[in-house]
Amino acid sequence: MEVNLVAPDKIVFSAKDISMVSVPGIEGNMGIMDKHIPIITFLRPGIIKVEGKEKNNFFVISGVIDFKDNKLNILSDSIYETNKIDSKKLTELKEEAINKINKNKLNDQDVYLTSTLINELDNFNFR
């Protein structure tokens, strides 16, 4: 299947012949393989694993997945290649998340998402 990871300002990753992509969906992790049924869903903070000839990992905070005609599009305004992310960026993201959770009156879902983000950032070990 074809996979495109897209940020608003650029295409982060694009490849054909991908055998499987595992994504952190909002209702649980999901593995998407060839000829999956058309699906639209959200992402929670976590790691996207793209498995083709090479393995590529990406860290996302939020985004949308759209699978159709054997094409997977992941739209996200916060997507980072795991091997390009450094500890400075990590602390930056974490501070942002902590500020968000402390300052604003968030609804349950936002609280869940932000705390997942903090957890994910804590467990991030440059995979």
Partner: protein
Amino acid sequence: MPSLKDLRNRITSVKSTQKITKAMKMVAAAKLRKAQENAEKSRFYSEKMNEIIINLKNSITDMSSAPRLLTGNESNEKHLCVVMTADRGLCGGFNTNICKKSREFMNKLLMNGKELKIITVGSKSYDQLRRIYGKYIIEKISFKNQKKIKVSDANLISNKIISMFYDREFDICTIFYSKFKSVISQEPVEQQIIPVKNDDLIKNNQIDLVQYEYEPDEQEILNNLLPKNISTQILKGLLENAASEQGARMSAMDNASRNAGDLIEKLTINYNRSRQAVITKELIEIISGAETL
């Protein structure tokens, strides 16, 4: 008839103007390449986003409980126009074309007795619209001091629009910007972003509708996605604008340099002629002076 010195001065001044326009053209060309790249890169994201939303809209059966950002308020009395232009001039008809397009639209609204609010993005649209529509302008936004357009800039505008919408300050929101078609052609467009308008797209069969599986349900996805979509559309507008601006400036400055070249040629011929005329006159004076002796 201008004296030789006047002509000489004019030639130097046109020459230095030409130098400036040439330099501006070069700068615009360099910036254009980057801006064009950015605009083209962003297209994919916004197109996909739009596709998803239109698919969602069509799969919703119960329109009454759908998010208001999608279906709109029941009325269409209050309009918000977001006019996006550049912050700088000297780019041909670029800013004027966008403002013209928006003026036509606003005039139609006012004639039909609708309520109008305007947000201007970029200082040129404010300059051009304030004379006639000054009392309708509620906000002016400018990114003059910024080199690059960021996602957060678009978010700033879209958050403002969304909170205004929830306060029922307007029913329909339309944005105006210039679509980048090619270096020599930019097309001013109007695009309705609230509520989502999709009839045109489906009529042209540009988007094929697919039966999707949704997780969680459609409503929740829409609630989450619609605000993002607005910011995406605005970002797209800003980036297309940035590319169009540089393209328009490049062709305008190219024209200006060429015109300056023509002018210099004409003036030089003029200058040479009058210099020759002066020489001839002096010769005649000398000769006729010698003859009288």
